[in-house]
């Protein structure tokens, strides 16, 4: 009987997962089935040559890696390298691949994938633990070789044999983009934070996630290890006993009941006990998410991320393709507003094209609207054309990310005017009745909110980046994660200031960052006079429940009190007390 081990992390996406794991160590081991290509027989010999080349290149790569790591390797790790090297050069595997290519006239990638799949399957079914572990080694090596064959960087592949809990240091957006989402039960990550990409993705998929798990968790993990992931409390349990599993199954049922109660409340208004209403909208990134939007009863889309449309497909999606997506999205939302954010890449969401020339400081580099204006203006114009054309079909609001000065707003407005004129001249149907707004996510923009508000129709506070830039921390860096403080008085002041500027200029202001989804901040944001809260669909129910239990004068008193505070901790404690008083069941379920 294996010993049950418990680890504490930070729950960043609610829910409970119970199942087997897929350890992803430093990338390199996610495999996807390559396309099956049928070739002429003479081509097959070339494919065999290509396979041999990929094998020797991988061998060299592993050798170099082993040398480079040298004395840093423990005995066990060194042996794993040796095992990997033996697998790479394995004669039986090679002859199987060669036979497969000749017999089926397929390309090397497909043949190799099929052969390694066979080995992985047999090895992972073996009762001996030692041998089963080698299945993981074959996966690692196969990932590397396949990466070579497909011309991919070594860590961009995925093979999920069945439903698994992904255990990894952290995953890059392009790695998660390749994941088979139907086969993921949840994420346990060593690195990352509440606002890192994987956490956000997990919440949008409605899957539990725990980050900041001690690195020790990786020791002794096998391909088949069972795990319980508690996204509420942040607990991760390796090799759970039958009793523990039973207890968690009950807890999962309870959570399920809570969420189905909330679902029944989806058509109730999002207004306080004393009648102050706020709009609840959804953050989404694909048309598929509309089912979730309807299920949670969000009134429209407060943030439609468009960078995910481009991920893995090059920088520019053709205008027609974009137009079709935006039109469907607008039609699906009827009269409800749809805020579409223009391409927001750079920072932690790089495209392969950009990672070739990395910036020393991507979060302070060419990202968001800067990239659209300075390096990618053709793609930006294409996107605006598609948006304006689609705008005739619904309630369109265009939003630009990462604004830090008035000049940027002016420049975009002039480009928009240009594009409108272009469309008019080409006699192409488009809207002239859209709204144009900006994200407030830099301290500079928040401080200038009054000037910016005079130029736009709305502002939406991107709290994740606003916290990061105000506190001067990289939110993915766990060494400074303790400084990621949404409740910091500096952040509160900037948000309050932005809200006031919006009121003064008679425009609406929203929050579309993580703070909108965190029930601890709902009362404070309401008191600031935020008009719209946009969040992951899974948060809409809990936030609606909080609002419906709230009285505005209580919220205002809370805000007044917090504006006198000097530390994040004081503010957070006050906010937490309030939440526990008005909606204890939500406080219980929320993961902080």
């Amino acid at each position: 009987m294996l010993e049950e081990r418990r680890y504490a992390g930070v729950g960043v996406s609610p829910g409970i997962a119970i199942g087997r794991i897929l350890p992803v160590s430093g990338g390199s081991d996610l495999l996807v089935e390559p396309e099956k290509v049928v070739l002429a027989p003479e081509q097959c010999e070339k494919e065999i040559g290509r396979f041999d080349e990929a094998v020797s290149a991988t061998k060299l790569e592993l050798d170099a890696l082993k040398k480079q790591l040298g004395s840093q390797l423990s005995g066990g790790e060194g042996r794993i390298f040796d095992a990997h090297l033996m697998i790479v050069g394995d004669v039986a595997m090679r002859s199987d691949v060669v036979d497969f290519i000749r017999k089926n006239n397929t390309g090397a990638s497909y043949a190799f994938f099929k052969v390694s799949e066979k080995y992985i399957k047999v090895l992972s079914g073996i009762s001996d633990e030692y041998l089963r572990e080698r299945a993981m080694d074959v996966r690692d090596v196969a990932g590397r070789i396949l990466g070579r064959l497909e011309g991919l960087p070594a860590n961009k592949l995925a093979l999920l044999p069945d439903q698994r809990i992904i255990v990894a240091h952290d995953l890059t957006p392009s790695e998660t983009a390749g994941l088979d989402r139907t086969r993921v039960l949840g994420f346990a990550l060593e690195g990352g934070s509440r606002t890192s990409h994987t956490a956000i993705l997990a919440r949008s998929m409605g899957l539990p996630a725990v980050v900041g798990v001690e690195g020790e968790i990786f020791t002794g993990l096998k391909y088949d290890t069972r795990m319980i992931l508690d996204g509420f409390s942040g607990t991760v349990i390796v090799n759970p006993s039958r009793r523990t599993e039973e207890a968690y199954r009950l807890k999962a049922q309870e959570a399920g009941r809570f969420f189905s109660d909330l679902e029944r409340e989806k058509d109730l208004g999002s207004e306080t006990l004393d009648g102050f209403a706020v709009q609840l909208a959804a953050n989404i990134e694909s048309l598929d998410d509309m089912a979730e939007v309807n299920k949670c009863g969000a009134a429209g889309v407060g943030l439609f991320r468009t960078e995910f449309l481009a991920l893995g497909r090059g920088l520019t999606l053709p205008e027609e393709e974009q137009f079709n997506i935006y039109r469907s999205l607008l039609v699906a939302n009827g009269n409800h507003p749809v805020v579409i954010r223009t391409l927001d890449i750079g920072g932690d969401k790089g495209l392969p094209e950009m990672t070739r020339n990395p910036e020393a400081n991507p979060f302070l580099g060419l990202r968001g609207i800067r990239l659209s204006l300075r390096a990618n203006q053709e793609a930006f114009r294409t996107q605006l054309r598609a948006l304006l054309r689609a705008g005739s079909f619904g309630n369109l609001k265009i939003m630009i990310p990462m604004v830090c000065c008035v000049e940027e707003v002016l420049e975009v407005k002039s480009i928009l005017a240009d594009v409108e004129q272009e469309l008019t001249e080409e006699k192409i149907d488009h809207t002239t009745r859209y709204a144009f707004g900006v994200m407030i996510e830099t301290p500079a923009a928040a401080l200038q909110a009054d000037r910016i508000a005079q130029l736009v129709d709305f502002m939406s506070i991107g709290s994740n980046d606003l916290v990061q830039y105000t506190m001067s921390i990289d939110r993915g860096n766990e060494k400074v994660a303790y400084l990621y403080q949404p409740a910091n008085p500096a952040v509160m002041e900037l948000m309050n200031r932005t809200a006031k500027a919006a009121h003064k200029n008679n425009i609406w202001v929203g929050v579309c960052g993580q703070m909108a989804a965190d029930p601890h901040y709902t009362a404070l944001l309401m008191a600031m006079g935020i008009h719209e809260l946009s969040m992951v669909t899974t948060a809409v129910g809990p936030i609606r429940r909080v609002i419906r239990n709230l009285r505005m004068h209580e919220a205002e008193a809370l805000l007044a009190e917090t504006l006198e505070c000097s530390t994040a901790e004081e503010i957070w404690n006050l906010a937490n007390q309030m939440l526990r008083k008005i909606a204890p069941e939500v406080a219980e379920m929320s993961s902080l």
């Binding site: 095992a83 033996m86 394995d90 004669v91 039986a92 080995y119 090895l123 001996d128 080694d137 074959v138």
Partner: protein, 93 residues
Amino acid sequence: MQEAGIQTIEVVVANALGLHARPAALLSKTAGAYSSEVTLEKDGELVNAKSMLGIMMLSACSGTKLKITAAGDDAAAALHAIGELFAGKFGEE
């Protein structure tokens, strides 16, 4: 010295953990040092003894009987070396 050709020996896996990765690696390395073709047979299942993965696929646990066949010029020497590995339990308990 026996004549070159096809020769066969029978061995029993005696080390407690069976033919796991390390013994499989050792065995495939040893077999790989000879030019003869060497195959392992377990209950009619044949694998190339020069392949670590092949050996592991047999999942031969402690007590398993194996037939080892070598074919080639140095068949006898190959079988001798391999037989020693099994007799010495691959240096394990």
